[in-house]
């Protein structure tokens, strides 16, 4: 999942920069995307060192609305949602489900019904499970499942194979 998100970020950078004559006009969004990739890399490196505080702080910066200035709505939402998903996972790994739940729910308020939202729903479900709110977790997992099912249908359609 994390790989797919990183790929989406990388390809978003390409998409933002490919129309060469418009490059200068897009420099602000390119800078935002570059900052995002650097923040993810810094968070990865901090996590590799076991430095949760630094990882958390880099991801928190990224999750702030100001960090995605200049980006189109969908890209900005995806970047923030991805950062909040990683924060939720980080808190789950640190055995702090209440904080994880907060990050997941914050991410879900950004809207959308895509891969990023599905990730947040799964984190939300895991946090709820650990808090003993298992029936709520079921609903969260089920919503994530439905999003993935729709994405599967789209992938099959895109591959020219009609669902049975």
């Amino acid at each position: 999942m994390r790989r797919a998100v990183r790929l989406a970020l990388g390809l978003a950078v390409l998409a933002a920069l490919c129309p060469m004559p418009g490059c200068a006009a897009r420099s602000e969004s390119a800078a935002s995307l570059e900052r995002a990739l650097l923040a993810h890399r810094a968070a990865d490196e901090a996590l590799d060192r076991g430095d949760l505080d630094t990882a958390r702080s880099r991801l928190l910066e990224l999750a702030r609305a100001e960090s995605v200035a200049g980006l189109a709505g969908g890209e900005a939402r995806a970047l923030r949602a991805d950062a909040l998903y990683r924060l939720a996972e980080l808190e789950l790994a640190a055995a702090r489900p209440a904080r994880a739940l907060g990050f997941a729910e914050q991410g879900l308020t950004l809207g959308g019904a895509d891969l990023f939202a599905a990730n947040l729903l799964v984190s939300r479900g895991r946090a709820l499970e650990r808090l003993g709110r298992e029936l709520e977790a079921v609903e969260s997992y089920h919503r994530a499942l439905l999003i993935n099912e729709r994405l599967l249908g789209e992938a099959l359609d895109a591959a020219g194979r009609k669902p049975s």
Binding site: A16, A30, R41, A118, V122, E134, A137, V138, N148
Partner: protein
């Protein structure tokens, strides 16, 4: 994958540098040499995208020789079925969730069926 994203980013930014620099010089039109350079950079960028795709297709978790789309399709099927498993584990303790469990299991089975023809997804 970190490195792929980084390389993609670096190359993307490097392709940006050329026209940016031209704008700073106040040159509104591309000269033939610039066009050739741009074409080269675009070809390089296209090559990188192909490399990214190739790396993804070479994911060892998938069956050898699988179609490019199968990577995504199999990942989605696995995710659907993992979520169904999670739901059903909870339903073992909470009968109220049994309906959700049955629905999710059915969706997992349907996802597997739909992907069986085009892709040889490994069981999760």
């Amino acid at each position: 994958m970190r490195s792929i994203a980084t390389v993609v980013l670096a190359l993307a930014l490097s392709t940006c540098a050329s026209p940016l620099a031209m704008e700073q010089r106040g040159s509104p039109h591309l000269q033939p040499a610039d066009e050739a350079e741009l074409q080269g950079l675009l070809r390089e960028q296209a090559g990188l995208e192909q490399q990214v795709e190739a790396r993804l297709r070479a994911d060892p978790t998938e069956a050898p020789g699988s179609e490019p789309d199968c990577l995504e399709i199999c990942a989605l099927v696995r995710r659907i079925c993992e979520l169904a498993d999670r739901i059903c584990r909870i339903a073992e303790r909470h009968p109220e969730a049994l309906e959700r469990c049955q629905d999710s299991r059915a969706r997992c089975a349907r996802a597997r069926d739909r992907s069986t023809g085009p892709c040889a997804c490994r069981p999760s």
